[in-house]
Symmetry: C2
Subunit: 329 residues, 2 copies
Amino acid sequence: MSRLSDLGEFGLIAHLEKILPGGVSKEWSVAIGDDCAVRRSSGGRSEFLTQDLLFEGVHFLPGNSKHWETVGWKALAVNLSDIAAMGGEPVGAVIGLGLPKRAKLREVEALYRGLARAARRFSCPVVGGDTNRSRGGWTLAVTVLGETRRRPLLRSGARPGDSLWVTGELGGASLAWRAERKGKKIPAAMRRRLLLPTPRLEWGGHLAAFGEVGAAIDLSDGLAGDLGHVARASRVGFDVDLETLPRPRGFAGLCERVGVDALEAMLEGGEDYELLFTLRAGAEKAFGDYARSRGLKVARIGRARRGSGIRWFENGREIPRRFGGYRHF
Amino acid sequence: MSRLSDLGEFGLIAHLEKILPGGVSKEWSVAIGDDCAVRRSSGGRSEFLTQDLLFEGVHFLPGNSKHWETVGWKALAVNLSDIAAMGGEPVGAVIGLGLPKRAKLREVEALYRGLARAARRFSCPVVGGDTNRSRGGWTLAVTVLGETRRRPLLRSGARPGDSLWVTGELGGASLAWRAERKGKKIPAAMRRRLLLPTPRLEWGGHLAAFGEVGAAIDLSDGLAGDLGHVARASRVGFDVDLETLPRPRGFAGLCERVGVDALEAMLEGGEDYELLFTLRAGAEKAFGDYARSRGLKVARIGRARRGSGIRWFENGREIPRRFGGYRHF
């Protein structure tokens, strides 16, 4: 008999998917296996549904009131990031909250202040949910409904020949997390990237509007893992030019001071919540102008090719290192 | 400083609602405070979003494979019951699953078989979710998206003069639960009501189609508690004729054998997942014919009046007993 730990998170999901009745139907064009489930709705619209289940001790730790506010913000923001990856806009969220006996009202209030701040900032009202006692620790279930009138950006949309791009910068959140664990100081902007991530909703909208985007995904588990999802879903391979990865100012020095491998932070660290996407061959020049005029910060980091898997290049030479994503099991 | 236990579940929800940015907007006609959040969608449609967060030790216990199947079925069914209460049809569900280290693959498979059976039976595909490790026990977060082209049935729709009705029978699930705890035998049909509840989707659709329904809610926490929600939301009072409450065949005798107060089981027990609704004055006769022709099993149990609170009558005489609903905190 198989054990959960042998299957791993994604093996388990694939396994369970077989038990469920055909999720992909006329109505749902995408079910399990992308950032959100996608429903073809009326009036040429697509609707998105995405959910995260977050546990104390796994996804967040208890702390002071300020801390609970960041937990609330982040819980909503990371789900909005999944909507952003598909080029959608949020419509509304429902929040399930499980509270241990020791939970204090002021902590719950702080969590909701954080949720409310993110809800206002990203125009995603909290419209319902469920609140009850948990025998374990704090538990948060966040579900977001989103929509778009454009073509949804999917993980499965990359073709050989596409160029590979990423928004913003990589590695900041991971470096901040490791610095925190080691009790080392880090620039405030980098800590904010970890604690108060910004879902790239505006940029995702620009990508969907541009029209020449192949595949897209948000970077939650690290570029190596998330690019692997795109490669499998699109049935392509990728070559990545490591020297082109966009990184925060002074990143190498900070990594050295904290004692972190810079490449691991950028490729395996996760929690950057930037968008990773591909662009049809020939669209690069027009896209560069488009991005500049809209303040969309992007970097070209590689290309899709026939085949499978990911190859890592440094200044034109393939390097033999393997990188992985975060594993839950 | 207030404590969570002082506020209670519904006090906490009302308190947290104040922290959130205005949930009810042009787009969301109903947010926190009904069975589902309701969104005015395109083409005259309304969409519903509802969520439950379920914990091992609070909402279900571990058991054998057969048992895990019933946990999966019930987790989806109770959310579908919220869609039924609004007169809607399910569109799709997302499932968040938190697994303790001791969870076994065959248990997870059994849970998903139960989810899949309910998904097929009630035409609600499972289209996504989140699976990860929990430091506490098993945790299930179920979110269902539903819709209707008719007017949604709300808790706030009752008016003085409306008659009060309930579908099916009351008290069976509660009696089965208490019998199980005491190790006493109970008819299989009553155990099924507890373990494999049927969300009244078809009947909810008939109620919405009839057009003269005022308010509706599903009975999850017991008639006394849930009718209290309708009374507060609609700003009316209710008079209930206890002798008219529909009960399973042989209920009084079974209650006596198990050592359960029959009225408490019907009014406070909860988990019946029947629909409670009001009907506009004068529509009773036409509704009786309509219900009969559609196999909609209903009983008239009282009336709405000006004022607030619930009065209980037995053969025309008010009785002084107070009944309450299930409390989480």
